[in-house]
Symmetry: C2
Subunit: 201 residues, 2 copies
Amino acid sequence: MTDKTYPKTERTKLHLLPKRGSYDKAVVHAIIDEALIAHVGFCAADGRPVVLPTAIARIGETLIVHGSVISRMMKTLAGGVPLCLTVTHVDGLVLAKSAFHHSMNYRSVTVFGEARVIEDPAAKEAALRALTDHIAPGRWEHLRPVTAKEVKATTALEIDLVEAVAKVRSGPPVDDAEDLDWPVFAGVVPLRLARDEPVPA
Amino acid sequence: MTDKTYPKTERTKLHLLPKRGSYDKAVVHAIIDEALIAHVGFCAADGRPVVLPTAIARIGETLIVHGSVISRMMKTLAGGVPLCLTVTHVDGLVLAKSAFHHSMNYRSVTVFGEARVIEDPAAKEAALRALTDHIAPGRWEHLRPVTAKEVKATTALEIDLVEAVAKVRSGPPVDDAEDLDWPVFAGVVPLRLARDEPVPA
């Protein structure tokens, strides 16, 4: 761990394909910043896991999530339970000569930690602004200003980035040498999230 | 619950926006079948949650996931621990006149259950075939056939679809009437996962 990397912990250490892992803060941040949503998981009161999608934004070394004050997930996370939050971009289908070597190109980040409620009014407004500007940069300042009632109806949570790991696979399939002449296409089908023309309301 | 719907349980009941929920098997299946990956969550031995992305396929009322026999996640899930698996498609950015009414259009499915190891050789091969054909329909029969060693090195798991719920938001932003003349664009930015031209290996 340095000021540019996250520590490699028992939970963030990759046992299977360590070369796919990165603890570089710049790599982790870039993957988070491109993500529209994360899947956040926690163990509910009954001890069973729950995984739900939620919008995210990042302010420095802090992740922001939000929701209605009456949301069950928000109430649970606000209690400071351990959580795990993962964002994933699927960048391509990796088609090999054999089923065994099929794969996907992807970039993911997994964060372990817990959430804190953002109580300070200025910090809470900054968090809500970050969420809005995350999906449409610079948009916040053009919007009808938030009201006290709206802010009160929203829970904003922050999660410190202290235990995080990126996983990245890229490039072509890795086939067995003896399969290279097998008569089927092998390569990558690139995937990307396309934004189409906005549809006015 | 009918033969065409999943039961509404305490965990799959939507408290906040029930109109977004669907227990219709056809709706749930369609969302799963379009998904390349799911985020699967479980509570680890230390009681803390873990959420990881994994490829999925569906055979009837069963979800299939797979991985290396030495993967920690596969070993944990193979033990039959409670799991939660969510797939999400983000279909659009919903830009409103106020930050409060911003949203995303999405389709998600959340499944609660547990996994079983597929031991039967024919069922295991069918599961691996389903995973391959899920990303490239009809591809399996053209590939170099799987070897016994490859099958042995892979854990295939099945998860019964018995407790599942779809959540769907679609359509334009829902703004407050008094904001409709606020001078900022409001509408939807459609998003879709685009497949570009295959790149041969």
